[in-house]
């Protein structure tokens, strides 16, 4: 069958280097992947099309790009699985990265961020002469996160990186989790302290884009949530993020539902004058529009509160 592939092109060596879209009509098989189509174009229509690719089997991580606006591996995306948009398939380079040529992006910042999380096992003492004894589950739960192939697709579509390139990002945080959760690693606390810093684990917005686009089921955001939990449980409770999460539970235990004012106070700290001053105009505007949420004592708890409180207390005890 014939398909129209619309590719975002960029040639840095042209007289007027500007990105543009170009359409190619290409004959594909029922079972073809987007990569198959791109290779056909490169081999039989336009040799200048630049795209990285190697294994064709979603294991090397070379062919990360965007198909119809969403990050993916070209080799893993079957053409007949794509929905909508009147049959035309739009292929663009990954986002949140500079473009070198056509579909080839500059991965250097990606690797630099991986490097930032001290991505190697840190043990203490002499190297053991036999294997580390561990129940299978203590190790196999790391299989999904070790499955990360560093394709960059999560970084491409990360919504936090869209506004803040300094964020360490989902791939590096998933990598960090791989060591934090490794029972052999001896640097867990230091790792968590590093991740607790600005641009670290608390800058994730929980938008789940990385979970959705990851071609390998690594679920980076779930790892980030696990890092936050491990951080808080190890006593790292002095960030806005930690106070927000813990304050949330306290408020639910108190009221059953959200008390926005109390949560804000618990997060920012009662005496955080500068931040409250910043929020003052927001509060005034809400007040003027007749919808400032009732604060603390005026915010009534739900009926049947004791049941909610019992559940909060029970799960707390189970830890």
């Amino acid at each position: 069958m014939e398909k129209t592939i619309r590719i975002k092109r960029f040639d840095p060596e042209s007289k007027n280097p500007q990105a543009y879209h170009q359409e190619f009509k290409v004959e594909v098989e029922e079972s073809s992947s987007v990569l198959d189509a791109l290779i056909t174009i490169r081999e039989s229509i336009d040799e200048s099309l630049a795209v990285r690719c190697s294994c064709r089997g979603a294991i090397c991580g070379s062919c990360g790009l965007r198909v119809n606006g969403q990050g993916t591996l070209a080799c893993k995306t079957k053409i007949n699985s794509l929905r909508g948009s009147n049959g035309t398939i739009t292929v663009e380079p990954m986002g949140n990265m500079a473009v070198v040529k056509d579909l080839v992006t500059d991965m250097r910042p990606f690797w630099e961020k991986i490097r930032q999380v001290t991505p190697w096992l840190q043990t203490t003492g002499d190297a053991p002469t036999a294997e580390y004894l561990a129940p299978p589950d203590a190790m196999t739960h790391l299989n999904p996160v070790m499955g990360c192939i560093m394709c960059g697709v999560c970084v491409s579509d990360c919504t936090a990186l869209e506004v803040d390139p300094t964020f360490v990002g989902p791939a590096a945080l998933a990598k960090a989790y791989r060591f934090v959760a490794d029972p052999r690693d001896a640097a867990t606390n230091q790792r968590l302290r590093d991740l607790d810093e600005p641009t670290g684990m608390w800058d994730c917005t929980r938008c789940m884009v990385c979970v959705e686009v990851c071609p390998k089921g690594v679920a980076p955001m779930d790892r980030i949530m696990a890092l936050r939990s491990k951080g808080m449980n190890s006593g790292l409770t002095d960030t806005y993020g930690a106070r927000h999460s813990m304050g949330f539970i306290e408020v639910v235990r108190d009221k059953g539902i959200l008390d926005e004012v109390m949560l804000t106070i618990k997060t920012l700290g009662l005496f955080n004058i500068s931040r409250f001053m910043g929020l003052l105009p927001v509060a005034i505007r809400s007040l003027l529009h007749g919808k400032l949420p009732k604060p603390g004592p005026f915010h009534k708890p739900l009926p049947g509160m004791h049941n909610i409180r019992r559940i909060v207390d029970t799960t707390e005890k189970m830890k």
């Binding site: 506004v163 917005t205 909610i308």
Partner: protein, 294 residues
């Protein structure tokens, strides 16, 4: 159709106009709502970062309450919808986990079997109602109004928990409803991105950059309003838009409507009953375009 109604904290708190607009709109659709008054907050994904078991238990409790009544749940918040969907999936995927949680529900006389269906109001319109039942109520098509959709992450991802494979129409539910109101859909890339609210207190500059980016993009594309099914997105895009604009030394003035407000307008309801005066970013100009006074 009758639903166990789960309004969510924000429609009862910082966005009362959402609750108000739903109350104005739903009776016209022939559905009945029975509010779950004892149901706890879903945790919004935030409580779960500290303690997923707690989140899942609280949500299993709410799901069990509806199951006990034999009713599906209707939500009006993308975040509540998403958190319920994820919890429901975990509970259904792992019977041992569900049994463990049911032990904690037992003192209250509750037990969750795993059967409760949870649907956002948007999905109720598209999936449960006869098309006539709601489209015929659109007596005042909002022709000339240009509306940009903004979903909220939890109504778009993860697609597996949200059932997009069985219900592909859910992926474009908001566009479909906007189109049905007669308004023109302004498609823009930011529609499924993060509004920034979850990091408002954690990283305000990033949060404000998101508000700035999305509202400016929508404005650049010629939208008169943005429409959202998520009151949390609304909080940030509407409530913090002035802050975002001043952080970026600009003015944006993009009205943000809750989707039931848009639907209500198309059904001929007045701005007062839809609580439109409570929106921080005034929709006055946009309303004038469709002949409605604020």
């Amino acid at each position: 159709m009758k639903y166990a109604f789960y309004p969510g904290c924000v429609s009862k708190g910082a966005c009362p106009e959402l609750y108000q607009s739903v109350m104005a709109v739903y009776p016209k659709l022939g559905i009945t709502l029975e509010e779950l008054t004892e149901a706890a907050c879903t945790g919004a994904g935030c409580l779960q970062e500290k303690d997923q078991l707690l989140g899942d238990t609280l949500n299993a409790r709410t799901l069990a309450m509806a199951e006990h009544k034999g009713l599906p749940i209707m939500t009006i918040c993308s975040t509540c919808q998403g958190v319920f969907a994820q919890a429901n999936k975990r509970l259904n995927d792992d019977p041992d986990y569900l049994a463990e949680i049911n032990k904690m529900l037992a003192p209250e006389g509750l037990k969750y079997k795993g059967t409760t269906v949870v649907k956002h109001f948007l999905w109720v319109l598209l999936e449960d109602l006869e098309e006539k039942a709601w489209k015929d109520k659109i007596v005042k098509p909002l022709k000339t109004l240009r509306a940009a959709p903004f979903y909220g992450c939890y109504l778009q991802r993860p697609s597996e928990a949200l059932g997009f494979d069985e219900h592909p129409e859910r992926q474009t539910s908001l566009e479909q409803v906007i189109a049905a109101t007669g308004a023109e859909v302004v498609d823009f890339a930011g529609k499924d991105r993060c509004c920034g609210l979850p990091i408002l207190t954690i990283n305000e500059p990033n949060s404000m950059a998101m508000v700035h980016k999305h509202t400016t993009d929508a404005k650049t594309l010629g939208a008169d309003v943005m429409v959202t099914p998520c009151p949390l997105c609304h909080l940030n895009l509407d409530g913090l838009q002035h802050t975002a604009a001043s952080r970026h030394n600009t003015t944006i003035d993009m009205p943000i409507l809750h989707f039931p407000q848009l639907l209500g307008l198309a059904m001929g309801l007045d701005s007062k009953s839809l609580g439109l005066k409570r929106n921080i970013m005034s929709p006055k100009a946009a309303l004038e375009k469709v002949g409605v006074a604020l």
